[in-house]
Assembly symmetry: C2
Homo-oligomer: 497 residues x 2
């Protein structure tokens, strides 16, 4: 894997000087085209052997190109805000928007390699991290990002020589990293695990480029050339021609039975039972959120459902149980301009709660497989891959201690009609009903099918869907509260073992 | 000041129950109107005596209104990301956008009161904090925000009784704050300094409302009513009719002499001197940014100037001196949707560097007193007040250890013409020239006047403007680098005393 990067690549100064002006101009052109199109972000990952010229190369790229369109990002020590959230949060918040370039030093690969080299975990955990990185990159590319991965390489002998030179040069001695690297043991392990990582994560959509780092002229020109060609290729793609791959059909129900129709919507609570149970579930929730185990968890509740199914009312009953300082309600409507310049899940990642906190999503990332699918706002390939991306997202939340509960509030068509009509008559409820609601109603069956597929594909042990019979609002509200409480208790129970 | 809030206000349950439904409905209406107009944010500050029902009232407001449009924010312990920036940064990042409400617990007032009550500083520092709060609120209101400030009050006797009840109630005992409060000494000091704060910060645009907290019915209804009336009044204002106050003219130059015309634009450097000085200033900058004192500072450089004056080139020479991981270049163009939903300075506050970091603004907050003034994008009242707001902003940066350097790159009309023509001919420079540039050129004199006013009103000891003679690019680049270096050295020198 690293053979070609140990054979002494070299470019002489004259050749270098002759090649640079045209390369610079072409890179600038590509950069402005990128800005102009504002259709895709460029993410450049910088990894490899210490002393192989990573920093110098990035510095040079910033000189060659317009640095105003480049963000160079480091990920050293996590801040306490980062430590309180899933590990990938720090990368999500740093993603460059469409039209810009982000250079990621110290990215997900460095983190997993450091951990493995220093024996913090074994191969199995490394492989999990590798698989996570693959899924992240696949998703970013599917969302239009151009990812370019550079591995700067040196043979052991080259590395030793290079570190020695750096150490002896007063202008550069500050750059030398921990002594650590001067021990060959670290080198061997780094290369060994590096190879494992590169082998598994070099994909057609985001290949690794191994660059021999010994000769500055060679490595600068090599990197510049790859960057240029990658950008040119990505910018030349006709965005409309994408997603031409096969989209496997999901299959349709061949009888009339489906999850939603199978619900017993006649379930109800009478007023007295409701008031009793509501108060007791609210008190239980308040207690759980104050429990000491909550400090190790966060809570995310997702509310989806038919229009007029009572999401707002259910959310208010949940909120009423709590000190408003503990929760935050995020209503999901059309994405903002900054959100549209990012991958689909970005606008949900930005609201991931810190440990100890509770975020309620009033509509959610499931919009992609519901309204966007049904209304054709995205391609079938987009919403089909969303199932997997969403499962990944929720798994990351869950791994970080976030308890995820998801509700589909279901009502029947007759109940919806009655509520729509009521809304049109009560003054302060009128804001709640729009033309869209009536239009959506006509697509009842298509929505029902989408809901069925959503539940089948994203109801998982770590983040199960709860279908809530919501013809009776009382029943629905109590069921929502009880479900949240049970999920929290189950999560807390694990601490006792 | 607190007399009316110690006389035992009371509302009986029947009156309360009768009043609530209409109040709720009106509050909901106001909330949706707020959302609909999306023209102003509502900021509610919650302060006062411990045990006076602050938390309960906010909880109730969240029940009465639609909690999906309210963000309740606490400001306890600062995170390390907050500690690395000016104190106000945490409030800026939490401001509600237009159309939403933010409830600020533990805001700037609690911070200053805690500090004074516990003797961390004396009245003079308290008064500085008070003046800072006033300026912040004045600015927020001028930018359209509705600020409502509640002080929940209890007499000493009421407070003692209330804390005792809370302590004895198992459902509430978790709420009791530090024992501290049960000592009368703290109460007396809190009330004394609270009065000082309220007296000085109750303004027509953001008055305090003192609420007696003993009776839940009274305090809830009182707060709800004030909130409703404040919102209704703010929503009824015709936005176009605002800023009708007097705008004092700045006065015009009565001869032809002005700062810009007085510059000696013939200054230049020959190639040899340039190369020598450039390299040496770049090395000096690189050294300074690695200096241990840099850990206590941050650096902000603002680049403004005539079109084609060479801002981009100067920025690149500064960047070329540095490791790209240390700096970030923020190009300022039209604000995004999320930025437009916030006060003017918000989009600059979000890029304030953490300690140890360097942010370069390619155009800046001075847009308001330059292009926005000249093109009429804001009212005279808006850009006139901007001078003061900007000085406040920069003073806050400076107080937090941020070194602020500001450059105006000046060229003459002939030089600009030559550069425009050159840009139109060189392929990879064409992106740099637009119709706007030619149009701006016709307003040369108006821009010159705006620049003069800007420098006169915002060049301060803590953040001086440097006028850079930029007909000769070499001269300009070296002067920029040298100025930054001198500013950093001056800041570092203070540590040696």
């Amino acid at each position: 894997m690293f053979e070609s990067a140990q054979i002494g690549h070299h470019i002489d100064k004259d050749t270098f000087d002759a090649a640079v002006p045209a390369l610079r101009e072409a890179l600038l052109d590509a950069q402005y085209e990128l800005k102009q199109q504002s259709r895709l972000p460029v993410i450049i990952l910088i990894n490899g052997i210490e002393g192989a010229g990573k920093g110098e190369t990035v510095k040079l790229l910033n000189e060659w190109m317009d640095p105003r369109l480049i963000d160079v990002l480091t990920f050293d020590q996590q801040t306490d805000e980062e430590l309180a959230r899933p590990p990938a949060w720090r990368y999500w918040r740093a993603l460059p928007p469409k039209g810009r370039m982000g250079v990621f030093f110290g990215n997900w690969y460095s983190q997993m390699l450091q951990g493995r080299v220093h024996g913090q975990f074994k191969d199995a955990v490394l492989d999990q991290a590798i698989a996570g990185a693959e899924r992240l990159e696949q998703m970013l590319c599917d969302e239009g990002a151009l990812i370019i991965k550079f591995w700067f390489h040196l043979s052991k002998k080259q590395m030793k020589a290079r570190l020695k030179t750096l150490r002896d040069d007063p202008l550069h001695s500050w750059r030398i990293s921990p002594l650590d690297w001067q021990q060959s043991q670290t080198y061997d392990r780094f290369v060994r695990f590096g190879e494992r990582v590169l082998r598994r994560t070099s994909r057609d959509y985001a290949p690794w480029h191994v660059i021999e780092g010994a000769d500055p002229h060679y490595r600068s020109l090599a990197v510049g050339q790859i960057l240029l060609e990658s950008m040119q290729a990505a910018l030349a793609v006709d965005p409309k021609a994408k997603h031409k791959g096969n989209v496997a059909p999901l299959g349709r129900s061949i009888d009339d039975l489906n999850l939603i129709n199978a619900l017993d919507l006649s379930q109800r609570l009478d007023k007295k039972d409701y008031e009793q149970q509501l108060v007791s579930e609210q008190a239980r929730l308040a207690g759980l959120l104050r429990h000491k185990h909550m400090r190790k968890h966060a809570l995310v509740a997702v509310f989806e459902g038919n229009d007029a199914a009572g999401k707002g009312g259910a959310i208010r009953r949940v909120a009423a149980a709590l000190d408003p300082r503990q929760y935050r309600i995020v209503p999901i409507a059309a994405p903002t301009e900054e959100e549209r310049a990012q991958p689909y899940l970005w606008r949900f990642w930005r609201h991931v709660p810190a440990r100890g906190k509770f975020t309620i999503f009033d509509r959610s990332w499931y919009g992609r497989v519901l309204v966007e699918r049904v209304e054709g706002f995205c391609t079938p390939a987009d919403w089909m891959r969303a199932y997997g991306e969403i499962n990944d997202f929720e798994e990351q939340l869950s791994n970080a201690g976030v308890v995820v509960v998801k509700f589909w509030l279901a009502i029947d068509q007759q109940t919806q009609l009655e509520r729509f009509e009521e809304r049109e008559q009560i003054p302060f409820k009128r804001y709640k009903i729009t033309e869209d609601d009536w239009r959506n109603r006509e697509k009842w069956d298509v929505y029902t099918e989408a809901v069925g597929d959503m539940v089948d594909r994203t109801s998982t042990e770590i983040a199960p869907w709860t279908l809530v019979e919501a013809n009776d609002k009382r029943w629905a509200r109590v069921k929502v509260l009880r479900t949240i409480n049970e999920a929290l208790e189950a999560a807390f129970a694990k601490h006792k073992k």
